[in-house]
Symmetry: C2
DNA sequence: ACACAGCTTGCAACCGATTGCAGACTCAAA
DNA sequence: TTTGAGTCTGCAATCGGTTGCAAGCTGTGT
């Protein structure tokens, strides 16, 4: 059906080897023949068969992307970024969704890894040991998580949280609640840490109210506990949680930001549509996907130096670690602290 | 690195051909040898190399999925369905996002088609001729669109719209506005048609207010025109548009559903989080993805009969056409028509 | 004892590319 | 004219499977 390298060779009056070289090592073949080959190529609309090439080179020109839940707008955006950047490099992307099942994750990666050159693991739920095992026999890039010796791209959670706290403190808030996500989540830990530090530094009191599902429902569940803390502001693990909070606070008759200010993280599309529109720390989601692709391709092109710069001297943040910064987007869900002091 | 068929053959004391047959045509090899092969296979953890197999069989075990925008929750859900069902069949999925660019669509499919066995085109923006051309040399399944001779899965838009209108009429609404999506969209056309028929049948007046982007912004843009129609209810092209309407109506000081009832289509997660929660026609999104996969795999397994049943006698809805039904989900955005008659 | 059918198995070609090696050719220097 | 270096090109092996064909073996009927 499709033209093969032999067809091109015949038409150009050369051997298949010459065609192959004309395409991949142009400097090695005479300009005149190269031109004849080029002509034949586009006369026939020839494109090399990837499977055949992969067979001999060992490279498939394909990468895998594993996310917990495609229906979560955060991961959808990351996927969009990955996919767009991969296309630029003429690399195809296998997308797999674990349905938030940590157990499925390792198996999925293992299955995928036989068909791809490398894998991007977004917000992996697996344990550190498991992750290390996976990275042992597959080229892996992490998104939204750092792990010893594995390249990845993460967000500067500390910086983002600092902006949020500074904003709230400037508005007069002194007692700030924190609704964490899943306890095992790397992001939860680092956001919590960043909040604690920022609060201490800016002389505000941080009140953690526990760990909740990173969803709208999680936010609904947390709301009443938040109210009970007597805080005048709350930072939520992510925007979905924040929007869940908004809903339940409204149902309980509290006004946002009149009685309570709410801050989220991510800046998903939904956040600007919420009522009141959500103040949030915007994370560059597609950018994370793009960088992950670049990181992965770099590792694949140059495995030894890549491994060296990632693993050398136990330095975690080598060349092969991207860090992205969040940006506080102020909308309607934050305002001055209420004058009436909360019961203390 | 990984075990090859030769390794297995050596360990089992047979030839590679026998191993191959033991795996793909078990009936053809002696039970005893088959057992020895099986033992060798899982001792070595052997898995056939897909590229090599694909080279000779011409099948890659991969399908492509093309969507206009992954960040749109509707398409994210379809993708989720496709991906999950494909995995069950041990088929991998290439996902590509056209960024709502109709021009990019054809090119993308063409590039993809060389690497996959078939393509699922979700809500294609391309023209009918272009679509036919694509289907000419690639196995294609359409989602959210019907086209002569190409298998696909669509929604019963007419039925869904009928439910919406019946609901509104029962609430006393007699003048219903319709905010359409992109004019060239197949869904827009069929939803409009369904509404027109239902309205006529149920003696309500349908007032189309034009075509808008299928987004939150589109809804914001349409809102004032909707108000100007004097309608007491409005059906939006999809939930994003409906939520945009909600926002702008609120800004204009109208109460929903007090002054105006709003109905969307899709039932994306965001809809139940909107305020007021959105009444909408729920479409089974993941189901559409799953069926599309089944359809595609059927065609691939049995091209001639598939082609026959899809194209024969110009019958569009052959065996290879799935139709899914919507379900009206009543929430808070619809209520009785206001007593004060709108100026007529 | 022979022929023949039926069941298993192996040989070898092949899918479509890439690449090490060697041969052909050009041209300059001796 | 011969030699040698340098450039360009082709041959043939190879990647890891699949499959048509033929050969080996067993068992049955004559």
């Amino acid at each position: 059906m499709a033209a093969t390298i032999r067809d091109v060779a015949r038409l150009a009056g050369v051997s298949p080897s010459t065609v192959s070289r004309a395409l991949s090592l142009p400097g090695m073949v005479n300009a005149a023949t190269r031109a004849r080959v080029a002509a034949a190529v586009d006369q026939l609309g020839y494109e090399p068969n990837r499977a055949a090439r992969g067979l001999i080179t060992g490279r498939t020109g394909t990468i895998g992307l594993v996310v917990p839940d495609l229906a979560n707008p955060f991961f959808a955006s990351v996927t969009k970024g990955v996919q767009a950047r991969a296309r630029r490099h003429d690399v195809a992307v296998f997308v797999a969704d674990t349905d938030e099942d940590p157990a499925a994750e390792a198996g999925l990666v293992r299955a995928l890894s036989k068909q791809v050159d490398g894998v991007i693991l977004c917000s992996p739920r697996a344990g550190n040991d498991e992750l290390a095992a996976i990275a042992q026999d597959t080229t892996v890039v992490l998104v939204n998580r750092a792990a010893e010796g594995i390249p990845g791209v993460t967000y500067d959670n500390e910086g983002g949280m600092r902006q949020a706290v500074a904003h709230l403190v400037a508005l007069g808030h002194q007692r700030i609640a924190w609704v964490g996500g899943p306890a095992t989540s790397w992001s939860t830990q680092h956001r919590g840490l960043g909040l604690r530090n920022a609060a201490e530094e800016l002389r505000a009191k941080l009140v953690p109210v526990g760990n909740f599902a990173p969803t709208y429902e999680g936010g609904m569940a947390a709301a009443d506990q938040v109210i009970a803390t007597g805080a005048t502001a709350v930072v939520a693990y992510n925007d979905l949680v924040a929007i869940g909070l908004l809903a339940r606070l409204h149902a309980r008759g509290l006004s946002v930001p009149g009685d309570l200010s709410v801050v989220g993280v991510d800046d998903i599309a939904m956040s600007s549509m919420a009522r009141p529109a959500l103040t949030t720390v915007r994370l560059p989601k597609q950018e994370a996907g793009r960088i992950a692709v670049e990181l992965l391709l770099t590792m694949l092109d140059d495995p030894e130096s890549a491994a060296a710069s990632a693993g050398a001297h136990g330095e975690l943040r080598g060349e092969l670690h991207g860090e992205l910064h969040g940006e506080l987007i102020v909308r309607e869900s934050t305002g001055p602290a209420p004058h009436t002091q909360p019961s203390e």
